[in-house]
Symmetry: D2
Subunit: 390 residues, 4 copies
């Protein structure tokens, strides 16, 4: 029934959370904090919020973090928190990309669970090292490929897995934006500055920032593994140091194909992430800007508009749904689902209980796959757009 | 710029919040709690969560409320909390309608701010009494007509006020649902049970539950005062005790007109709240299910699709926006905006500082207007669909 | 299968057609002519295209009408054509409203079939007289309530008739436009001039021009008969002589209800005709601007998007469909369906064969119902918005 | 003004038209005939409608073609009609692809204008020969890349040409269908049979049938010339003889890039042709299924929804528009625009008058470009997906 009940997590025993990055003026840090609060599973108690000591302090004050738990560096924080009886159990890493690996390493080594923004690192080697370290440490490691948290994406994945589409033939992903149409990085945009700077972003610009999201989503929903790709990375804006448009042909193991297009210069697109999956028996279409809808067509039948919380919602969607159909959920709720799923894993670790097998969140291995994807795409493009194994 | 910065409130000094109603199995209580957490302005520390003592206790446990602050009744809670140094500063009332007035009264008299679900009461007299009590007490009183919290609704209101539409001629509001198409109230739906029960809902069914939302939104955006209405309330489902479909002709002061349609039996509609406002110079259209979009047309020019966080966003939208355009916000964020605006008023009261004039939330007077609207509509309908002053 | 075959009528023995009105600068005359050609059932051979002899002559030349069959008046044309062996078999009347009745009368009396634009006449009395005359003459009389020609409207009607929606509860119709937002009638718009002139349009402005379309469509699809209505007609634009906005409450025989809203001052709407029908088992929604889609929801199931020529198309849609799904048909094709259905009746009359019972087109009785609707609405509004039998 | 006037061509002196192919059960022949009638510029007087004499005869009868002008072959028809004083002036060739070249050749050599379906031929050599023959003959030759006839496509082209988008960076075209998801060609679908048969279709399946449409549209709107492409053609359906899915990377002269995707196995897509063009200053998006809308965004401003016949319509759209905004035109009207533009050229030739420079229709050179595109794509794919000059 439409409005029967809404979902909410119990809050007993919030997870003590620290944060690296995310000080005043940052973008994604605030998103992580809101996501951590929505289901009341975390309490932010420590931070190394900025490399700038003044800003770090002020930002901690804004967020109600006690002065003695506002640190000057992630290294200091990892050490100090590991030594406290009430130290943080998990850390959110929300810095530019180049800081992900060293920070993650420090916290894993300190025995602290990690929730890390994407892309995982700036190189495949760093990512591989992190995978090993996670294995060794036994800690929870979540990567915020947040779009996998949308309920209708969960449903899409479940429908594919259940064979509703038959054998998959095509996986088409795209993620157009327009915010880098002009040279914002020299016009005062902090977000543009580091995202177009190879030192802080790694070898990929558009492909690292949003291409990996599209790729992660395509893998998540289709359940397929990529075999090889053929990429063309372009820098349209003169003077820009990294790619701002990405075209990729995809060959999936098992014979499916697809195209992935990501762009930061497609005027009129805000965050146009879209996924389409077609199989022998059916097709699915989903658009991030309107995430409560999932189009489904069985071959030979009328299109259906499945809605989050609506009549066609599957249990996999329902378990990450908070309010009834027709009352839209959005980006923050999807992001919160990653946090809450990670919390389930962290609490299972805390309580030494078995983890509910329904729990899903992007792992360090998914993060590594993202780095391998960037790496292969950059190489394919540099080699003249040739097929390259992932 | 698209992803430059996201909004987040500082959390220093959270407001201590109590809750009446909202125990296990309730719908709107969880929504209020999430809304209270999103911007980190509140901390839930006390509750009278259910009339059933067992359920009250268990629900408090779920929510991390200390056992000694889980109360058996709102009266007990008001008294006890008023006597504590660390007692609640505000209470959220999320019970069925008939409990709103007595609970609100108790907390106002105990000097505690109130955030109350809608409709305000079950009778106009109760609502008038509350208005007086709020005036006398000087306390903050917010009514969760949550749709006014959507950023593009804030923008719509600002655009009308700024004269972008010219003189308003038409205000068309509708709110179709379908969840009461069959007799859910005798088929085990708790939500349907009390919402169709005059003892708990008051004299209005559909008109009280969703008609008031549509009316409140129409007033909020248009800035108009209703003069009179002509209503036809219908009960389509045999055996149902209250109206499940409402048609109303509206005459606004100043000459504008409009129609308001709300229904709980319009199959295929989840929460189809929609507002259209037309003036001598322009028109606006907004749909709750897709709340990040606002259609605007200047007469004689192409339609514009204004987006939350996008290029056409006004400051009034931006101040209640958390993430960039193309990353959708939804129902819970809009609801949170009511909580956060109320928090600003509560903190201004706490700190004896002036309240930012930009702060907007539905007040007890808006709640009273909603009750007068229900009352007039019920009377107009009973009298044979005649014009009735509000 | 998507592109298997397209429909086309055989053209053997085109119907000889004349036209009254529709000279240079007219709007609806050209629409009628195109509609008459699409399925190759008619040949335009005579005309009284304008009251202005020069314009009549020039217009006839434009259209390849022989000079001796370009007439100075409909009376002359009816007489002359009736006397020719190769005289017209049917006439299209596309003048302003006040000319419909005298012209139709002249041609019926001359034994010529009539296709007449809407509204049928300017008074109920004239319409009743025409009904009698049609009965007496045995001639075909079609009224171009063209929206009934859209394939998905045919399907909607069939679905209602087949019980797919259960018992109908609500029929909601609206038709907002914005072209009369300002006083176009004194700013050089010929179309606005006569449409806002009671002498040429009759007692209804907006209600006659587009309200009757919405009403006709609501009747056509729902299969219901209207019992009574309560109307409020408004003239928003100062100096205008007829209504430019119409609100009507509808009570259908059998207990269904509904609202009808039509407006010529709703900025941002071009031709926003929309119909929604809700029953005990399902709901339908259709929008004229996107006519190839029909939304259908069975209560408790996901929404379906039925498409013209697509998998969910019914035979009733298919028989008036020309091209496969995904290749849109539009206004002219819908209009052509009225012409082609009328042609089937005219050819059956010519050939003295039985008429296929599947043939549907709006008749003189439908035209009369439209006039009764206008009349009742004008009276209800004038009497202070009271329930008025139709 | 919204409903001021509708466009219609004068019909004096219809062009005498013949048709090759398009007998009973065909798809595109009927479309051509309707398109030829809409603006009353043609009269169908002769045909070689089928290779099957019985069917040819019956089809001619259906269409009112005199028995002595129903021919057994195009060769016979070309000869006979060239010899008649009232012989056809133009011929429409609507056969499967392999017949286009020989038929076109015959009619050009007989001094008869040609309107030919696409793709132009089955080989580049044939196409080149036709180009030479057209030059030599001086006859009008139109290829029915009909999507270029849509008014908003005309407008898109004009906007790009006028610099509204700045310098073009990206041209993204897609054309997904689903009708060949299963092996329809062995299940009785005549349309599928020849379209998947290399003998009748040529070397391209999906790429020839719909890929060329997408390519033609991309060229038409962007005004760009393709430099090279990298293609991957896939046959998903076992046993099928031609490609049913096409992915192509595009490099345009001048530096713009793009992707072209066409598919016949993308379940849920009817005729999903979509074009998106992005430049340094703005972006455009258009979808064939909803052709009356054109999305336009200037960088940094809100999106605009431009409508055919609406406030943002340009003269280039208006000259091929028949009815006011909000009254949708569709596929047949767009197709008719090709016919009518070709008629202007044919009439200019007949009357030895200068051709209005605003007249646009796809020419034999465009047809050749389509064949070169198919050829390059097939070669690129066969060579292992390598860059191939067009």
């Amino acid at each position: 029934m439409a409005i029967e009940g809404s979902k909410e997590e119990a809050s007993s025993g919030r997870i003590r959370l620290g944060m690296v990055g995310g000080g005043r003026g940052a973008f994604i840090g605030a998103v992580h904090r809101i996501a951590s609060r929505i289901d009341d599973q975390y309490e932010l108690v420590a931070g190394a919020l900025s490399a700038d000591p003044e800003k770090a302090k002020a930002s901690a004050g804004d967020l109600g973090i006690a002065p003695d738990r506002s640190y000057g560096s992630f290294a200091e924080m990892a050490k100090a928190e590991a030594g406290r009886a009430d130290g943080i159990e998990a850390v959110a890493i929300v810095t530019p990309n180049h800081m992900h690996a060293p920070a993650a390493k420090a916290f894993l080594e300190a025995g602290i669970h990690v929730i890390c923004d994407k892309p995982l690192t700036t190189t495949v080697a760093e990512a591989e090292e992190l995978v090993q370290l996670v294995k060794k440490s036994g800690k929870v490691f979540a990567v915020t490929h947040n779009y996998t948290g949308y309920p209708m994406i969960r449903q899409a994945r479940a429908m594919v897995a259940a064979g509703e589409l038959g054998e998959i033939r095509l996986v088409q992903a795209e993620y157009p934006q327009d915010w880098l149409t002009e040279r914002a990085e020299t016009a005062g945009s902090k977000q543009a500055e580091w995202r177009t700077d190879p030192k802080r972003s790694g070898a990929g610009g558009c492909i690292g920032d949003i291409g990996t999201h599209a790729y992660n989503l395509a893998c998540f929903v289709s359940g397929l593994e990529l075999d090889e790709l053929l990429a063309q990375l372009t820098t349209f804006v003169p003077g820009r140091l990294l790619d701002d448009d990405v075209q990729i042909m995809l060959r999936w193991k098992g014979g499916a194909k697809g195209l992935l297009w990501a762009s930061q210069v497609a005027v009129g697109n805000e965050n146009g992430l879209k996924l389409r999956v077609y199989g022998t028996k059916g097709g699915l279409e989903w658009t991030q800007a309107d995430p409560n809808y999932l189009w489904f067509t069985k071959f030979g039948e009328p299109k259906q508009l499945l809605t989050r919380g609506g009549n066609g919602a599957w249990p996999e969607a329902a378990r990450v749904t908070r309010v009834p159909g027709g009352h839209p959920e959005g980006y923050l709720e999807g992001f919160a689902n990653i946090y809450t799923e990670a919390a389930r894993a962290i609490l299972a670790a805390r309580n030494r209980t078995a983890l509910d097998p329904a729990v899903i969140f992007p792992t360090v291995e998914d993060g590594l796959k993202g780095m391998q994807f960037i790496d292969a795409a950059v190489k394919s493009s540099a080699a003249g757009n040739v097929w390259t194994k992932v």
